[in-house]
Symmetry: C2
Subunit: 351 residues, 2 copies
Amino acid sequence: MTELKNDRFLRALARQPVDRTPVWMMRQAGRYLPEYRKIRNQAGDFMSLCKNTDLACEVALQPIDRFNFDAAILFSDILTIPDAMGLGLYFVEGEGPKFHKPLRTETDINDLNIVDTKRDLKYVTDAVSLIRRELNGRVPLIGFSGSPWTLATYMIEGQSSRDFPNIKMMLYKQPESLHQLLDKLALSVINYLNAQISSGAQAVQIFDTWGGVLSHDAYAEFSLAYMEKIVNGLVRHSEGRDVPVILFTKGGGQWLELLADTGCDGIGLDWTTDIGSARRRVGDRVALQGNMDPAVLRSDQSSIEYQVKSILQSYGTGVGHIFNLGHGITPDIDPNNVKAFVDAVHQYSQR
Amino acid sequence: MTELKNDRFLRALARQPVDRTPVWMMRQAGRYLPEYRKIRNQAGDFMSLCKNTDLACEVALQPIDRFNFDAAILFSDILTIPDAMGLGLYFVEGEGPKFHKPLRTETDINDLNIVDTKRDLKYVTDAVSLIRRELNGRVPLIGFSGSPWTLATYMIEGQSSRDFPNIKMMLYKQPESLHQLLDKLALSVINYLNAQISSGAQAVQIFDTWGGVLSHDAYAEFSLAYMEKIVNGLVRHSEGRDVPVILFTKGGGQWLELLADTGCDGIGLDWTTDIGSARRRVGDRVALQGNMDPAVLRSDQSSIEYQVKSILQSYGTGVGHIFNLGHGITPDIDPNNVKAFVDAVHQYSQR
């Protein structure tokens, strides 16, 4: 394997000193880039793009070619696992992901098979291998998965939801069925992320997009516990390096101590949490990733610089900070503002 | 004025001992009740119901007649103030509130008049007076308003939003314009709530439904500061009693200390916050209201009882707890489950 030329991201996750704060951006390969929209149109629908190894690789590299990001991320969707389980993922423009066959009964849950990545999701590991090769050591590659709870919300609701009526009914009324589902999903995610790691992912992130809709107790029991199971089931060392794990629960600012207790290496923060307070709460046990409000990118260069400086200042000096947005970048952003963001992080964090 | 027969709710807000924990429910007058749906159909659209004093009074009393709630709340909408300012509130079934004339320019903000409740919102104070009279001292009456930030989100976006693109652009790019708007709204809310208090409201709650979409710093500057201004501008004593103020920021679990510092009497908690930890954080400075996940009401009596007991236990013994849901009840709930909820709170909190 080629030597890694820029290891700031991995060093920060290992709480080692860096010359400047590494930065990447959730959904950095995405619709705000004209070159992405071109490839996306060429591929047809979103899942066809994910499943086309060459094109998935090309869009993953676009932001790396254009900006000075310190990490690349696999181009894929968080819902590949339920799709591989046979639920039939599809996308409706402006409405987000949907499933043709959402889970309706206990039998549906009983019948689910744990995913065998090599058999069922080869297109993902192929993309990991190719992106890794094409990166050629420029920056590390992040693999990812949805969290079991987050996958389950889509599988049971059949789509995005505001109140999550069906899965919450199951949670409060038939918790054993939900545990059975989450267990199958956790085992699938372990298999999936380990396959990504053995294909070349140098770090992994678990996206718990909907953990924040749970009560404190339900979060611990139905989301966190399964992320912890995954953390414990992952290959944490590969190619002579540690493979760090980042957990990101959107709306999880109240549960940082619990997240740090899982044994993960980094915690992703959404923008509602003050990163300085977060650091005081978790100490130097984990790295912290984040957390600028993505909406700041709708403003102008001077506002972006102000917000970047304010987050750097709040985090303070020392190790363990990876700069990111508090959630994915939205499609309406001017790429020049992304450049201003990345440059500001590097400039104002220079040691 | 008739003597108050049940003052548990006011005693809990004053951190005085009670024989059992008082309970009410956000949106307790609402579509889950068949008798509400009947009146709602009779009135026509939702705003016509709000503006019909007799019918608004009738639906406010329905949950009091049916269940043993310890407080009644004015039946109205949080968006009456922008409607009175001329933005033209209307409702589209299944899509929530919208405005015919959302704010688009600085001139739109300049042109807004501070609301004069007696002139512009007489239908609200009429409803307060009538509900208070018809309650006849059974339980206290809560008045309410939306928070300035929350009102501003609808006024600028024109409707509910997921990402709040327009108001956030203003927040980061033209913060002075947003402050001008929020200031006008805060003065309007002060006028509005004081008018409700002089018409008979015995406590008031400010609903900050969208404060939780802000970053820590932006929350303090653009939502909390204006709620604090309102707290300081309210008549806090009327009819020989204190008039307590409750602040409720949905998604505000990280900011409880800041909320307690405003000088309010109570803080509403959504269901994501552990109420025991919340109490340890704010001490006995304020009462805490909440915080069962509304989705628990979708389950069954034994699950409801379990969750009620768990919250009572987490809060612990002593003063200052008002039981409520962590957000409004949804229309799909069986009224029998509401009865189970109210009865469980009273039964398991008996001193």
